[in-house]
Symmetry: C2
Subunit: 340 residues, 2 copies
């Protein structure tokens, strides 16, 4: 089969890889319908995260089940399925508490590489959720978003305690930040402030439910949030970048007793203990337990109540994956969908 | 009046200070009945926090109202009252959300110095809570504990989401950690693991509700907690020290999706972003909004359902305050009560 392999920073190739096979009785093999490129794929692409050998890429996927292991019960051959970027058993104590991304048996799907024609999915019963009915093209894009960026934005909004009566600030205008806006809206937030300086992303943020846009960053961004909230700061802040600046911007934009939900993968972040202590905020985040939200998200998508697939602003065939990486790296695209 | 003044590290004196007077119509002046020495008073005593001028000491107090300003309505002359270490208006949006220690008009009582015969209390209506009835000596000690260490331990247990079915680990066996044990018990925790290597504190922890004691610290302490929790870590961890080691011990002792409530005043703490991200814990803490809990705590104390005053293991007259500081510094006492 063909799949995307990164050989070095900025060296992305589509090449022949061995077809995956059922290795464990709990595995499934799916034929990938659509995959995509994640903002986090840019960390190795830009050389921030090391690559020490040719690495299969991708961790987001929607596909059709082609084979199942002897112990698989919850999905059948022919099912259209969505999964998260961590395979999880969905039965351990951590999963049952809603933290499937920390499942005691978790497997990172990024290690398997979903930007490929075929994909082995470990722990298929706990990982995959079958889609009811035949999705429209827009719904299919939405389902792909649910696999990571929507689920991650949703978790961030939940972690930030977004809800009725609350003002939510969103740091980061990538796909996750934008879908954090959508999630905050669905969770009933009263006011949603998107922090963005890109006109196209501002527009999408407003379409997803943002009531205000702040273009400033850093201290000026914090001040702008305070100016909009009687000097107190937001009740809830979503952090969807992962840098020192964005984390501090999120913490400082939040009132005492408020909540910061952070989902940008931390890179070289050190949180000053004393400032955090006196901030009085709640801090929660990490790799999102997308599997927890998938059934509800699939339902919202298949009934057209949300359109998270709108974050995909460039669609390319798998063969052109390298151009997709370039487009995201150069910020010509927010999120690239790969067709197979 | 006489009051405690710290002139330099290890130089604590009881000396004549000006009698406080009503400065604002919202002030009260109280005659202090009992005060005490806090673990945090040891930071300047040991030279960790700088002292640049002679500094009145103390922020915990129970007393009798002696004068009130023209606008004070909620307490009357002659009332026995308890307050927190932050004066707060209890009416602003932050107070109403339960975060009085971050009140937009807060005044740190430590700046006024409660280890003294008389004390001016700003924002008396929002700060002071009148005690119903005449406390016994044990109840009076409990009320003094409520002023900070009990309220702080309680907040830590709430921030750590201690409750039914949950295993709570407590890092730190000072008065706050011990009263965190008491709070976790009151909140219904199933299992409470006190981390302590002092026999007398272990005994008090068990009396307050600890079901297990772990003597190990650092990595060995974390492993001991994991061994007691099926390898997963505690649901809830109370951090009541404030050092890098204790914070990391608390975070690493907690399972993904669990909660760390941290109330040890942070000293030279830097939290590594990536480890925190992948830990998946909730982190909340800071200066405790003791005022939020005071009415309920006073009720628990005055009905003898809790005996938090048991943390005081040395009682001295105000004149001997210097000996009290020495005893706490040398760990001959957990918590020193000063009588007036």
């Amino acid at each position: 089969m063909r799949g995307v392999v990164m050989h070095a920073p900025r060296d992305v190739r589509v090449e022949e890889r061995p077809d995956p096979v059922i290795e464990q009785p709990t595995d499934a093999v799916i034929r990938v319908s659509v995959a995509c490129i994640c903002g986090s794929d840019l960390w190795p692409y830009r050389g921030t995260d090391p690559i020490d050998r040719p690495t299969p890429m991708g961790h987001e996927y929607v596909g059709v089940v082609e084979q199942i292991g002897a112990d698989v019960r919850n999905v059948a051959v022919g099912d259209l399925v969505v999964g998260s970027f961590f395979a999880s058993d969905n039965t351990c104590e951590i999963c049952r508490a809603g933290y499937q991304s920390h499942c005691v048996h978790r497997v990172p799907m990024g290690a398997l590489g979903t930007q490929a024609e075929l994909l082995r999915v470990p722990l298929a019963d706990g990982t995959l959720v079958a889609v009811p009915g035949d999705p429209t093209p827009a719904q299919l894009r939405g389902l792909l978003a649910a696999s990571d960026v929507l689920g991650t934005g949703w978790f961030a909004a939940v972690a930030a305690a977004a809800g009725p009566g609350r003002t939510v600030a969103v740091v980061g205008d990538g796909a996750v930040g934008l879908l954090g806006v959508l999630a905050a809206k669905q969770l009933g937030a009263e006011r949603i402030i998107a922090m963005s300086r890109h006109a196209d992303r501002q527009e999408l943020a407003r379409r997803f439910g943002a009531t205000d846009v702040v273009e400033e960053r850093g201290d000026a961004g914090v001040q702008a949030i305070k100016d909009l909230t009687d000097g107190l700061g937001a009740h809830s802040t979503i952090e969807a970048v992962g840098t020192q600046e964005s984390m501090m911007q999120a913490i400082r934009s939040t009132r005492a007793g408020g909540h910061v939900g952070y989902v940008g993968v931390s890179h070289d972040v050190e949180l000053p203990g004393q400032e955090l202590f006196f901030s009085g905020v709640h801090l929660h985040g990490g790799p999102a337990p997308v599997r927890e939200y998938l059934p509800a998200l699939i339902d919202l998508i298949m009934t057209d109540r949300i359109d998270p697939g709108a974050v995909f602003d460039l669609t390319l065939p798998l063969a052109d994956a390298a151009e997709g990486y370039r487009a995201m790296d150069e910020r010509r695209a927010t999120k690239v969908l790969l067709t197979l």
